[in-house]
């Protein structure tokens, strides 16, 4: 006998779909996910019933999901709601396909956070182990405050400045202006950035991502089947994770060690180096994490992420155009999922004004506690 009988050796993304972003109180997270999956199936040129694996993220009602879509999955599961699980969720889909137990997997994300009043802070917020004992009585809460403290630490060690954070915000806003779907389109200046109100000092409103309702779906299949779908396939060349949960004490290295390990693994898998990468997608719930990711994944020397951003490297026309859709800061906070869609569309080559010319390799960087990276490419090998 063999538990793995039809093992595959490559995986491709063959469909992506999104809802609108904004306030959509008429939808819950599950129906936003269904909407997105219907778009993705249309994009891939398949029927929903052709999907044989389903992994839901954030939307927890897989029961309603399967009922309404009338699919008959051979694999169904739902991963925890936090944005940190995005790369990990895609990793599960990839592994399921490689094992041969399923051919075509939908990963579906639905987020009704804006209509549901998600605050990412306060009672019930689970960021920080034991936070109700050791954080809340002092008023400590929220991933934003954690990034504020980590940035203070970074500034202390490396002399990083808030103007460098502003440069992240401005760069992604410029990209958003080329994306009709982006929630924030208004041009930004450094004066605007510095005048925006503090949320958790030293971080300001414009250091924070945009909470919205929305859904995203991706359809992945085995590489040898990918040519049968409507779109030009985008191959998953490498995907890796290292999780390091720093309890309630905050990581003392900005996640650097975990990112270094993920970086090494993902580049070895993909057999491409940073030199080969044409564009980056960086999980940007708050501006400081962009600096940490650039340093952790080796795009900038340690402590010099801010100067790297100020050099213009992340802007269209720069060496590593990043978050060309505007990212979470200016398109919408879809917790990594809209960044996957943007990576796929860059590699399909049909993004018009914000297309990175000739893009063949795009790398997704997710710092933070469940550190992950994905390298997408136009070719399987």
């Amino acid at each position: 006998m063999s538990l793995i009988s039809k093992r595959k050796d490559s995986v491709a993304v063959v469909g992506v779909g999104t809802t609108k972003w904004g306030s959509m109180p008429e939808h819950d997270a599950t129906s936003l996910g269904i909407w997105a999956l219907r778009e993705a199936a249309e994009d891939a040129g398949i029927r929903l019933q052709d999907i044989d694996g389903l992994i839901c993220q954030r939307l927890t009602d897989y029961q309603k999901f399967v009922q309404v879509t009338n699919i008959t999955p051979k694999l169904v599961t739902a991963t925890p709601s936090a944005g940190r699980m995005t790369g990990a969720t895609i990793q599960m889909a990839v592994q399921a396909i490689l094992s041969g137990i399923v051919d075509t997997v939908a990963v579906v994300y639905g987020n009704d956070g804006r209509s549901a009043g998600a605050k990412y802070g306060g009672k019930g917020e689970s960021y920080g182990t034991g936070s109700d004992q050791m954080w809340f009585p002092y008023g400590m809460t929220s991933p934003g405050a954690v990034h504020s403290m980590l940035f203070q630490r970074h500034a202390h060690l490396y002399n990083s400045t808030v103007e460098q954070l502003g440069a992240v915000s401005l760069a992604f806003r410029k990209h958003a202006q080329l994306n009709p779907k982006a929630v924030m389109q208004k041009p930004l200046t450094m004066e605007d950035y510095l005048a925006s109100r503090y949320i958790c000092e030293p971080l300001r409103l414009l250091d924070y991502c945009l909470i919205n309702d929305g859904g995203v779906a991706m359809i992945l299949t085995a590489g040898d089947r990918a040519k049968d779908f409507k779109q030009r396939p985008v191959h998953v060349k490498g995907i890796a994770q290292v999780s390091r949960l720093a309890q309630g004490e905050l990581p003392d290295d900005f996640g650097y060690a975990a990112m270094q390990r993920v970086s090494k693994t993902v580049h070895e898998m993909a057999e491409v180096s940073r030199e080969d990468v044409d564009a980056l997608m960086i999980y940007d719930n708050f501006t400081p994490i962009v600096l940490f990711a650039l340093e952790g994944f080796g795009y900038a020397p340690r402590g010099e992420g801010g100067a790297f951003v100020q050099s213009g490297a992340l802007e269209l026309g720069g060496r590593y155009p990043t978050n060309t859709n505007g990212g979470h800061l200016s398109e919408s906070y879809m917790q990594g999922w809209n960044l996957q869609v943007e990576a796929v569309r860059q590699l399909r080559g049909d993004l018009g004004a914000r297309q990175v010319p000739g893009a063949e390799i795009v790398q997704y960087l997710q710092g933070g506690p469940v550190c992950t990276s994905i390298i997408y490419g136009t070719e399987a090998v």
């Binding site: 009672k123 009585p137 809460t141 403290m149 503090y198 971080l203 309890q247």
Partner: protein, 139 residues
């Protein structure tokens, strides 16, 4: 005087020794019997060396500011205006969240990273006493 509206810790069987100690103006944290590492979670297993056997042990209450921030947006009731939160690295190694008190305005420039601080105990009610920190007086 307004009733205290800030969040109170849920005192559980596992956290009771911590809060009993602060009530007596002492700072205790779980320490591994084997490698002597202090922890800020209340479980019997050491994450550092894997030993089973972690018991409450006293700390000096002295430390340095490891990082800080200042909340302008409020997520909890009971806070008036901006307030600081700091993470203090205790001289025995562990880091805990706290508020810095005893500076003129409570602003971040008054509590730089690296500043020496010491514990002060702020009684909230009959069962809860919070551990806050103030700058070590230069005198």
């Amino acid at each position: 005087m307004k009733p205290y509206a800030k969040p109170l810790p849920p005192i559980t069987a596992k956290s009771l020794p911590f809060w009993q100690a602060t009530h007596e103006h002492k700072l205790l944290l779980p320490r591994c019997d084997h490698c002597k590492t202090f922890h800020t979670y209340f479980e019997p297993w050491c994450s550092h060396c894997g030993h089973e056997g972690v018991h409450w042990a006293p700390l000096s209450g002295r430390g340095r500011i490891w990082s800080n921030c200042r909340f302008h947006k409020h997520y909890f009731a009971g806070f008036d205006g901006p307030y600081n939160v700091a993470m203090v690295e205790l001289e025995e190694g562990p880091r805990i969240m706290t508020n810095i008190v005893g500076t003129p305005n409570g602003t971040l420039d008054e509590m730089p990273i690296g500043m020496a601080v010491e514990a002060v105990f702020e009684e909230v009610n009959d069962t809860v006493t919070l551990v806050k920190f103030k700058p070590v007086s230069s005198a």
